[in-house]
Point group: C2
DNA sequence: TAGTTTTTTGAGAATATTTCTCAAAAATAT
DNA sequence: ATATTTTTGAGAAATATTCTCAAAAAACTA
């Protein structure tokens, strides 16, 4: 279960300060270290790292998936002006209860808020 | 602003009892009425109907977009076993307030819950 | 109504994102 | 050192959606 240098480069790219990078951005970052790394390898390792619970995939409305080094439970906002992705916490506690009362089992949830961020509002 | 027969067929397909159909399913339904309708026409009209606020597009994790005849504010669950999409209400009231307190303007939100539905749980 | 202009269509090419295939390379086990 | 297993890179394929454009349909206009 050793970390190949490709897998490490992908992990490092996700862990880098880059903000919720897409696979393409991770590919570009990883290429700095391993110039001939393949895009398929990036996707493959991103998926493995996700199923190992080391990173997390986040799906954004109408855009490519993004990857998050922060695996703690939280959700995301996207700014419709600048595309920035911002973390936030939602308390889904009683929502989950209400759903389970109806006889469903909740496996996971996903909240995305489209917003105009503080910075963009300040610019106007 | 007349309704062409293609646009009407697309609208009728979304309004049909089909449960949150995908563009492909809408295409298949519309073909019954207009056998030579193009898939591009289906997508084009779905997008127009969405921007006219007559129907709504819903994005589902890891699958094609779905379309909803119910434009009232509500969110969706998907059953990971059978793929069924179920409506539900979330009260995002104080979430929105909390976000706006942080200096962001909320434009829209999207909640998707992945679950195992009552029917599938009953089967086990 | 006949002619003109505008809008919408169908067909298929193009795009974007992601997964798949497979021989070669690398890593691991023997 | 050799055999076995895993991972890789390259590119093809799959999926979902948008775009292009000439032709058809619809809406104006005189």
């Amino acid at each position: 279960m050793g970390l190949t240098k490709q897998k490490k480069a992908v992990l490092d790219a996700v862990m880098s300060p880059a903000d919720h990078p897409t696979a393409d951005e991770i590919y570009a970052i990883a290429k700095v270290t391993i110039p001939n790394i393949g895009l398929g390898t990036v996707y493959r390792n991103l998926n493995t790292l996700c199923s190992e619970g080391i990173i997390r995939k986040i799906e954004m409305p109408g855009g490519p998936d993004r990857f998050d080094k922060d695996i703690s439970p939280h959700d995301h906002m996207v700014c419709s002006e600048c595309g920035r992705v911002i973390d936030f916490q939602v308390d889904m506690g009683d929502l989950k209860d209400r759903i389970e009362e109806r006889g469903f089992k909740v496996l996971s949830h996903n909240v995305q808020v489209v917003c105009i961020c503080d910075r963009c509002l300040a610019k106007e």
